[in-house]
Amino acid sequence: MTAIPHDDHAHHGPAKGLWRWVVTTNHKDIGAMYLWLSFAMFLLGGAFAMVIRAELFQPGFSLVAPEFFNQMTTMHGLIMVFGAVMPAFVGLANYMIPLMIGAPDMALPRLNNLSFWILPFAFLILVSTLFMEGGGPNFGWTFYAPLSTTYGPPSTVFFILSMHIMGASSIMGAINIIVTIWNMRAPGMTWMKMPLFVWTWLITAFLLIMVMPVLAGLITMMLLDITAQTSFFNAAGGGSPLLFQHLFWFFGHPEVYIMILPAFGIISAIIPAFARKPLFGYASMVYATAAIAILSFFVWAHHMFTVGMPFAAQLFFMISTMIIAVPTGVKVFNWVATMIGGSMTFEVPMLFAIAFVVLFTIGGFSGLMLAIAPVDYQYHDTYFVVAHFHYVLVPGAVFSIMAGVYYWLPKWTGNMFHEGLAKVHFWMSFVGVNVAFFPQHFVGLAGMPRRIPDYPLQFANFNMISSMGAFLFGLSQLLFMFIVIKCVMGGKKAEAKPWEGAEGLEWDLPSPLPYHTFETPPEIK
């Protein structure tokens, strides 16, 4: 390959000062901003969770008003889903995908910056609803109608419009990622040579493009029900609250996989690196990811088994849901098979990755229990559900993000993070997450409903344990912030490839990364 002569514009460095971050078109800058925003939102949503767990520390203990408690559960869910987990994965995609496929940047850099900068404004609107007359959203993160339409607070309109621009940001970000992967791969980077993180993001972006517009349509119907007295979710006028749930979960279930597929990609990069073995069953991983994505369009009503659906529909959604366990099982099998016989070391990214495999599998199994329609009648809307989705989202999605951050932090900053402190962070998080969420299985099975500020005495012990675990987990994230900032400020210099077994184009580049990379496409062997 001959070197390509560059125009001058290709050599501009970053602008000076804070303005650099506002006007940047550089995928690394934008990726970093996504990650910082996500972390800020993680702390904010975490603070809301601390309020929830403090209120539930003891029965009858009234720390906050029940109305405010409802706003906390709602905002915790919304902020964590749309503000913490999704932007973190988009940030990692922005930062890493161009490096992994040998591209000079994202396909449409200005659009990329727009996708990011919408988010701070959207969350400004969302969080400001807490200070409005009547308070913020108090109907749960699923904002079921008519609770959110007929009975919602006046600020619901602001909530809806902030979701609209957030969704626009997601769609634009997803289009950018798909086009980057499709069109910007270096010569020789064939489909089946792409790292799994790239594959999982390609499929995730497809899911985003398919379902975020459905969410937009849904909240538009809500908006019309509230402001123009349409009857979409009003049975008196011939509409149906169930229509809301069907549309919401048609978006909502693929959304769940949007939050976990990129995690699969990160784990599939880290486990081979520290097991010093190529990933077991690469092709089957790709096909399993695609299978999960396709199936995710046909399972939505398993969130609504108790609403009164025809028997045939319950049966269909039960079976389709359980089929998802097959490709997911393929993935877990492959990760374990990668580790077997490897010369494993247990650096911090690997610790998070192993914890992911174990704890995500627990969350997957409780998901299978919930998929069984007749027993779901007992579990529905109990703390068992809360335990289930926190097991897949916290030690699932969030642990994978932390694993990814520790894995690539030396590459981004050029410095090694403090290994000892990071191990403390891992163990505190690991213990905290299990103490917080495992007891919730028990109280849920015993019948404690979710989204309530108080509970009968028999749930007291487990709730107190759960709250203590949550506080420990919350505290340990401040340590995480300290470790990351310390690493950004300085530390032992990192080599280009700080992890012995790591594979991929990003490790051929120097650490820290130059501002522009792969202006000439690399050669792929």
Binding site: L111, V157, G188, A235, G238, L243
Partner: protein, 299 residues
């Protein structure tokens, strides 16, 4: 992009830092913030919000930013900065955007389908085990639904929309797709006057369509009692035709912008992404209409 052509093409154009994205994000903030305040006022939830002014300011700035942005990209294109690979990126981006638009409409079509084939029939007593049938005693399912389940709370429309004007509109839109394709062919053959005339004809057809649509809405409100608040028939009717209408307006603006670019001598036979994207969008809007014509007006 095939890998072998990389050797010959210039480097992928990564634009320098740009103020456009932050300006656009800020206008979206104004639109959302102002729009919410305005809607609260419309709905009578809050009085005298300044929302309408913030929204209007946002709209002006949005239009300005969008215009500057597209002017800039078309200048970059005319300056030859766009490699074949970047053109490919734009093309793929537009295709995925249309997919997302299709899914937006799918939510409304899906809602209509669910209401008609499941929910209203259950409310009328279909389905032996459904308790839904006991909600409103004596409710009967008809479509278009003129008598709502609770006619006191939500009075239904007096009449359903007739299909004659929509049939004219269908003819207009299909014809406009054909004239736009003629314009496209003329462009490919570098036949500039044909391009101009066919494009102009398309714009005229689009405007006539919008006129008929406005007349239909006037009829609905003035004579048929078919309004947004007249129950699920009115709700689905207006959300589908309304969002389609908004897309026709956007498509018409795109076509007019293309027309001015054509007058300025933009686009060549082999190289006319802007035109192509506008044409795709227009055909998409057309396809949605044909689907909508059948499920909203005919069946």
């Amino acid at each position: 992009m095939s890998s072998s052509t990389h050797d010959k093409t210039p480097a992928y154009y990564v634009p320098e830092s740009s103020r456009l994205p932050i300006a656009m994000a800020f206008t979206l903030f104004l639109l959302a913030w102002g729009g919410a305040g305005w809607l609260q006022q419309v709905a009578g939830i809050q009085e005298n919000t300044s929302g309408v002014w913030i929204f209007s300011l946002g709209m002006i700035l949005f239009a300005a930013t969008l215009t500057i942005w597209f002017t800039k990209t078309s200048r970059e294109h005319m300056a030859g900065l766009n490699s074949e690979q970047l053109q490919d990126s734009y093309r793929q981006c537009m295709k995925w955007f249309i997919v997302s638009e299709a899914m937006f409409f799918a939510a409304f079509f899906g809602g209509l389908f669910y209401v008609r084939f499941f929910e209203l029939q259950w409310m009328a007593g279909e389905g032996a085990k459904a308790a839904t049938g006991m909600l409103y005693e004596g409710f009967e399912y008809t479509w278009p639904l003129l008598v709502n389940p609770n006619p006191e709370a939500v009075p239904g429309p007096q009449e359903a929309m007739h299909w004659t004007i929509p049939l004219i509109n269908t003819t207009l839109l299909i014809t406009s797709s054909v004239t736009l394709t003629f314009a496209h062919h003329a462009l490919r053959k570098e036949h500039r006057s044909g391009l101009k005339n066919w494009l102009l004809a398309t714009i005229v057809l689009a405007v006539i369509f919008l006129g008929f649509q406005a007349y239909e809405y006037y009829e609905a409100y003035a004579h048929l009692g078919l309004t947004l608040d007249s129950g699920i028939y009115g709700s689905t009717f207006f959300i589908l035709t309304g969002f389609h209408g908004i897309h026709v307006i956007m498509g018409t603006i795109i076509l007019i912008a293309l027309y001015f670019r054509v007058l300025k001598g933009h686009f060549t036979g082999p190289d006319h992404f802007g035109f192509e994207a506008g044409a795709w969008y227009w055909h998409f809007v057309d396809v949605i209409w044909v689907l909508l014509f059948f499920v909203v007006y005919i069946f």
